[in-house]
Amino acid sequence: MELSTHEMDGGITRVELDGRMDIGGAAAVDMKMNLIAGSAKKLLIDLQKVTFLGSMGLRSIVIPARAVHSKGGKVVLYAPTEMVESVLKTSGIDSILPVHHDLATAIAALQ
């Protein structure tokens, strides 16, 4: 599981996740995600390259997202695959963390 970050215009932090968000993948990114959430106020979590998402992986997204929300920030999820999006919808997370497939719309939602 790989994680990279890019600072975008408008104070947006884009976190690109790459790989399987299974138990091992979640453990691999947990600390980095929490560190990023500690400083980011507008977080775009790019899921394009996430090939698997289980409940532990969900937790690795939701806990840092909550940290951002708690300080008045915003978080969006960007471009999950069909199956990953199905996991997001089944768990109900999509009702709290909006999912966008268009980058411009995702960025606009963070403004």
Binding site: D22, I63, V87, T90
Partner: protein, 163 residues
């Protein structure tokens, strides 16, 4: 939920004949690293479609992590087995057996605690793993097995390939 007399009785003779593979894991989350390659080998062997493969990975990860964290309560000194059977070309049945105290993951009282409960129900993982399994598996069945040696739990997760 039903009670049966032995692990052998859990699997009808015709299913036993179509048993494909068994994976034995220690009751520690680290051992789950063995799960992915085992499932991948089955997926390759039977050319299982990608969506079903995703569902199998998802359900097995949820079910096995439940056994380790809740059934065995994090105690690493035990084992569990995962069996795969294929009664026909379109169906795969995974059976997870352990020797833990009675633990029915489908019962509401065993549903995972909220990580950070909040008025907005932000996380709502209570039942999240179970919700996912119910969504992605064709059927799930729990049975308590009484063997005379303390017994165990048996969770059967079935996947039917899309036509």
């Amino acid at each position: 939920m039903s009670t049966i007399s032995s692990p052998v009785a859990a699997m009808p003779a015709e299913d036993t004949a179509k048993h494909v593979s068994r994976l034995t894991l220690k009751s520690q989350l680290d051992d789950m690293a063995l799960l992915w390659p085992w499932v991948e080998a089955l997926i390759a062997q039977f050319a299982i479609p990608s969506d079903t493969a995703f569902a199998i990975h998802l359900c097995l990860e949820e079910a096995i992590s439940n056994v380790i964290r809740h059934g065995y309560n994090g105690d690493p000194g035990h084992t569990l087995t995962v069996d795969c059977a294929s009664p026909n070309a379109h169906e795969f049945v995974f059976t997870i057996e352990d020797q833990a105290p009675p633990f029915d993951p489908l019962e509401p009282e065993h549903i995972e605690e909220l990580v950070e409960p909040s008025p907005e129900d932000f996380l709502r993982p209570g039942g999240r793993g179970i919700l996912l399994m119910r969504k992605f598996a064709s059927t799930i069945k729990y049975e308590r097995i009484e063997t005379g040696k303390g017994g165990g739990n048996c969770l059967t997760i079935r996947f039917v390939l899309p036509e």
